[in-house]
Point group: C2
Chain length 264, copies 2
Amino acid sequence: MKNYAWAFIAFILLFAQPESVFAQVSGKKIIDLTYSFDKETIYWPTENGFQLTVGFKGETEKGYHYEANTFCAAEHGGTHFDAPAHFYKNRATVDQIPLDKLIGEAVVVDIVQACSANADYLISKEDILRWESKNGQLKPGTIVLLRTGYGKFWPDRTKYMGTDKKGSDGVKMLHFPGLSPLTADWLIKERKIKAVGIDTPSIDFGQSSTYETHIILTKEEVPIFENVANLDLLPDKDFNIVALPMKIGGGSGAPLRIIALLDQ
Amino acid sequence: MKNYAWAFIAFILLFAQPESVFAQVSGKKIIDLTYSFDKETIYWPTENGFQLTVGFKGETEKGYHYEANTFCAAEHGGTHFDAPAHFYKNRATVDQIPLDKLIGEAVVVDIVQACSANADYLISKEDILRWESKNGQLKPGTIVLLRTGYGKFWPDRTKYMGTDKKGSDGVKMLHFPGLSPLTADWLIKERKIKAVGIDTPSIDFGQSSTYETHIILTKEEVPIFENVANLDLLPDKDFNIVALPMKIGGGSGAPLRIIALLDQ
């Protein structure tokens, strides 16, 4: 196929996203990295899904339209934030995390090839070094987003997390890539990263039962973003992240609205 | 008292805020304009409050600390976003609102004096013109935050909204200032504002029963931010707002995390 035909297809794919994925403000392009919370939203096998209850929707007696709902959710489901308190004692809850830890320069490390070959892949230091060999050493204070490619499976539970079984039986059948504990430790100590995000349900891989990567990150109060959407739309570097969790008092985590800001 | 003593007191007051209110990133000062969601959080008299249920908190069998919760809430309570769908048929829900409508240059219009004298005060065009006489005409696309001063009453329901009664009886007893419908219309047509926020429970004043200001704003898809915190910490102008609601699919509103970014 001719190059211009590919370009046309790329253009269509890029701009056929739902309206709210892209926006533009003050010379910046905004990309929404958040999945909607609805019936499809993926939660951990042991949690109920997102539940919306319609309070009222329609015309009121006075003649105006009105709608309002209530909802119930687990802190840790859909696109969400893990506060340090989630896996470490006496660490910051959602409302206590300083906002500068959730905002700043970010990069995307692409590990799609290895992850598509192995659903239990552990992202290694070598994967980060490969990114660095192309883009230069990670700067201290960088927000690192890990692109496993699993976003393309959302919201198919079986493809995205290895199983659609619920409960503790489901947990044992989880398969998806994650960040290895050693790499997490190295990213903190040797690269002084600010936060880390991933396009899977958990920063620990699906088959983890000890959650060591969570423990290492939360001990050092490194924010974790999980089920991050649309990582395929981001470049390797040179963009900013604003990640704002719902401010749940004493929360161990929360629904997260996370966006990328790119220069045009 | 000497000037330096006043300066010292101002310094203490400014920096004695909870840790998470202030932060700093890339030469910008960040101010959190969001109340925490907890037992104290103020909801409309007809809604239940925010309910957090502890799922687990403590040491697991495997020896690591773990905590996770679930929660239930109304869309419209605490610091929250009113989507256009809230008061107008066939308008954008939370997940559909383009993000550029929630991000950008903002101003604070101070109406504290009039509002402290009259709990049923309706913010008028003259109040906006007074701001303009000092600061210049509002630029198209500005996010307008209305400072009534009622933030100082949070979370005392009686002082903040006139009553702590629940149910429809409580609604009749609501007293707090709001934006007049005529001024909302003028702000849209003559000033082309992008969004509007207020430090009270509703953009319509407490005694409204027809919610005309909501209807005018939602018809034109102007986002509304309610129960915005810490407006007393903001200058008249020259700062930016990032307002990111929880992305509730089909939501008429949602918990909102809203921050201001100021040049240092």
